[in-house]
Symmetry: C2
Subunit: 434 residues, 2 copies
C-alpha cells in the first residue's frame, strides 16, 4: 500500500491538466501521462494552420507547467490500454499502477464511416495536423504560381472547408484573409485574391450553438471576407481532386475537415458503454459506470446538463470537469462526498477573421468588433504561460497593422521520417517500472 | 530573344538572395528557384535545435522578402540538373531557360565516406534538421526520466557533438545550458544537470579560424558550462548506442554531426572541376571554367583570397559574392567589365552559450561578455525582417532573465509522412513552362 494514493491522469489537455493542478499540494502522488510533451491551446490551433502563429506560441511543455508541483510526475508515453483488474495503465511496454484513474484523452476528427477521406480531407487536432495543413495550404499557392494550365490553377486556388462549427468558420475566415491580404502582393503569375474559399455545412445554418441572428451575422461576416457559405449541403464524396455535393462537383486540391469528431479509444479500454462518437456515458460524478475509481472527462466523455442535454466538446467543459474531479478526489480521501458535476456555462465565442466575431454570454449577444475584442481578451487570458500571452499579443498587433503573417513556413518537405533510432530509443527502452 | 536578359538564380540562401537584391530595378528578368519557400538565417539554426527559438523566428518566405521587386519571380521547385547546351535549368518536369545562371545551392553535412553514420549522427543545415535534432535531444531527457536501468539512463543523458567549428561549439554550449538551467527543475527521476556533453574535435584546438588564445578562451568557457572538450580526437565509428574514438567507447543515444560539409551537386550538373568537398573551382570572376554565363557562389564554390587561401564557407563570403555577381551582371550588360572578386574579411564571431563568445576582427580580439554583446548585435542586425529581429530580441531577453527556453516542443512524433496527395499536387502538376 502506498503512503499516498496515486492518481494517474492520461492526457495533458484542458481536462487532464486541470485535474493535476487541482491536486497541487494535496496528499496524492500524481502521474500525468501524455503522448506529447506539450499542452496545446487548441482554440488557437487554426492560427498555426494558417501561418499566423508558430506552434510554440500556443503550446507549453507539460512538465514545465507543472514544474513547481512536487507531488506530480509527468511521463511522455502513449497509453494503449487499461488493465482494470490489476489497476494498471499500459503504455508501450510499461505498466503504471493507479489507485484512481482519470481518462482525459480527447478526440480525433471522424469521417462518419468514410475513413478513406482522411487522406484527402485532413483535420485539425494536433500541432502536427496544423503544420501539415499549413504546408498544404501554402503549397497550393506555390503550385498554382508555376502551373501553366488554367483549369488546374483554378483547382489549386480553391479551398473547401467542411463543417460550419467554430473550427470550420475560423479556418475559412483565416484562409480568406491569408489569400486576400497577406499573400496578395507576393505572387507574379497568380492573384491570390482570386482564390475561392468555400465553407460547406450540412445544417441550415453555421455555428448552431449560437442563436439564429448570431449565426446569420457570422455568415454575413464570412461572405464579406469573400467566403462562399453553402448551407444544407452534405458532402457525398472527397477525392484528391474534388468534393462532391449531390451531383455538383467542386474541383479542389485542398479540403479541410472540420465536420465531426470521434472520442479516443478510452471507452474501448474500459469496455464501457459509449455513444456513437465513442464517448463514455459517465455517471453524474463523472466516473465510468462500474468503475467508481475511474473518471472520464472532456471530449472522451458525454455528460449532460441539468436539462439532460449533452454538453459540447469545448475547453470550458473539460476544465470544469477537471476541477470537479480534483475536488471529488480530495473529498473522497477525507471521507466526504460531493454533489454531482454541474457545468456553469459562461457562453460561447467564435471569430471570423480579424475584427469580426460572435459572442453569446447569457443574455448578452454581440457581433462585429465588440465580440472580437471580447474573443481576443478571453483567448489571451486563458493561454497558458505569460510568455505565450505576450508573444501572441505581439503577433496579433503585428499582423493587425501590417496584414502580414509571421509563420509562413513550409516545413517537412524534405524531411526524413522519424527514424528507427529515435523511435527505438524511446519505445523499446521503456521497460517495466522499477 | 527576350527584351531583357533572364537571370536564373538557384538557391535562396545568403548568396542567391543577395544576387536577387542586387538586381532590383535593373533591366533583367530575375527568376529565383529554391526547394524551400523560406530564406533561412543559418547562423541561429542551432538555437532552433536547442529549443531557444522557433523556426519562424529565423526564416522568412523568400517571395515575401522580394515582394516589392517587380522584376523578380520566385519559384518553389527542386532543381535536378542544368542543360548547359540549351541553357535551361531542369526542375522536376519543368525547364526554365536562362541567359545567365547563378548556382548558390549551398552544402550539406558530409561523413567522409561514412554515409551510414548519417542515421546515427544527424547534422544541422535546414529547419527540418533543426526540429529533428530538437526532438532527439528533448526525447533523450524524456526517455531517461522513465528509464529504470541506470546504465541506459546514463547513455541517454550523454550528448556527443562531433566537430569543434562554430556550429559544434554553439551546439555543445546550448545543450549544456539547456540541461543545466532550462530543464533543471522539470524532472523527478533524473537530474538533467548530470547530463554529460562531450565535444569531439580532431584538430589540436577548437575554432581553428580564430587565434590560439581565442580558441583557448572558448575551450575554457565551454568547460565552465560543463562541456567535456576532447581535442585531437577523431571519431572512428558511430552507432545507435555509442561513439568510438580509437579503443575508447562513449555510450550515447544522441550524436550530433558538425564535422564536415559537402557541396550540393551543382558541380556535377556542370561537369565542372571540383575539390574534394564537391565545390566548383571558380574563376576569379566567380564563373565556372568554360561557362562564362554561369556563376557559382557561396558554399557551392571554392574561391581563394589574394594569398591563394580558400575562403571559408560562411555567410559573409556568400553575401559579398552575391553582391559581386549582381554588379558583374549589370556591368556586362553595359559592356563594361569589373575587377575580380575580392573578399573583405570583417572578422569572425562564435558564441558559447549566453554571455560568452569569441570575436576576432582584424586586430581586435575579444572574449567573454564584450564578444557576446558584439555577437548578439551582429546577429540581430543581419537577421532579415524587422519582425524577426524584434521577436528574437524578446526571446533572448526572456530566456536571459528566466533561463527558460520558449520552444521546447517535440513535434513530428505521430506525424503522417508527407502524403502522396501533397506530393503529387506539387510535383506532377509542374509541367513544362508555358
Amino acid at each position: 500500500m502506498r503512503p499516498r494514493p496515486r492518481v494517474v491522469i492520461v492526457g495533458g489537455g484542458f481536462g487532464g491538466l486541470s485535474v493535476a493542478k487541482g491536486l497541487a499540494g494535496q496528499p496524492f502522488e500524481v502521474v500525468l501521462i501524455d503522448r506529447n510533451n506539450h499542452h496545446l491551446f487548441q482554440p488557437l490551433l487554426y492560427q498555426v494552420a494558417t501561418a499566423g502563429l508558430s506552434p510554440a506560441d500556443i503550446a507549453s511543455p507539460i512538465r514545465n507547467i507543472l514544474r513547481e508541483q512536487r507531488n506530480t510526475k509527468v511521463m511522455l508515453a502513449e497509453v494503449t490500454g487499461v488493465d482494470t483488474v490489476n489497476c494498471e495503465v499500459v503504455a508501450a511496454g510499461l505498466r503504471v499502477s493507479y489507485d484512481y484513474l482519470v481518462l482525459a484523452t480527447g478526440a480525433r476528427h471522424a469521417y462518419f464511416g468514410r475513413d478513406d477521406w482522411a487522406t484527402f480531407a485532413p483535420g485539425l487536432k494536433s500541432v502536427d495536423d496544423a503544420t501539415y495543413l499549413r504546408r498544404r495550404i501554402l503549397l497550393a499557392f506555390e503550385s498554382a504560381e508555376i502551373e501553366p494550365n488554367a483549369e488546374e490553377r483554378r483547382r489549386l486556388l480553391t479551398f473547401v472547408v467542411v463543417g460550419g462549427g467554430p473550427t470550420g468558420v475560423e479556418m475559412a475566415g483565416a484562409i480568406a484573409e491569408l489569400a486576400k491580404r497577406a499573400l496578395a502582393a507576393d505572387f507574379r503569375s497568380i492573384d491570390p485574391r482570386c482564390a475561392r474559399i468555400i465553407l460547406i455545412e450540412a445544417a441550415p445554418r453555421i455555428l448552431t450553438p449560437f442563436t439564429e441572428p448570431l449565426s446569420e451575422a457570422a455568415r454575413r461576416a464570412l461572405e464579406q471576407l469573400g467566403v462562399e457559405v453553402r448551407l444544407g449541403a452534405a458532402v457525398d464524396d472527397c477525392s484528391c481532386e474534388d468534393v462532391r455535393i449531390g451531383t455538383e462537383v467542386i474541383p479542389t486540391r485542398t479540403i479541410i475537415w472540420a465536420a465531426g469528431v470521434m472520442a479516443s479509444p478510452a471507452g474501448r479500454w474500459l469496455g464501457a458503454d459509449t455513444d456513437r462518437a465513442g464517448r463514455v456515458r459517465v455517471r453524474p460524478d463523472l466516473t465510468a459506470p462500474g468503475h467508481p475509481d475511474i473518471f472520464v472527462i472532456g471530449d472522451t466523455a458525454v455528460s449532460t446538463d441539468v436539462e439532460g442535454r449533452p454538453l459540447a466538446g469545448v475547453a470550458p467543459v473539460a476544465k470544469q470537469q477537471g476541477q470537479y474531479v480534483a475536488k471529488a478526489l480530495i473529498a473522497r480521501c477525507n471521507g466526504r462526498s460531493i454533489q454531482p458535476f454541474r457545468y456553469r456555462d459562461f457562453g460561447s465565442l467564435a471569430t471570423i477573421g480579424r475584427k469580426r466575431a460572435v459572442a453569446q454570454m447569457g443574455g448578452l449577444h454581440l457581433s462585429g468588433l465588440p465580440a472580437w475584442l471580447l474573443w481576443s481578451a478571453a483567448h489571451i487570458y486563458f493561454l497558458i504561460g505569460f510568455r505565450n500571452r505576450f508573444t501572441v499579443v505581439l503577433n496579433w498587433m503585428w499582423s493587425y497593422i501590417t496584414f502580414q503573417r509571421g509563420s509562413r513556413l513550409i516545413t517537412g518537405l524534405h524531411v526524413r521520417p522519424l527514424d528507427d533510432v529515435a523511435r527505438t530509443s524511446r519505445m523499446e527502452l521503456i521497460s517495466k517500472e522499477s
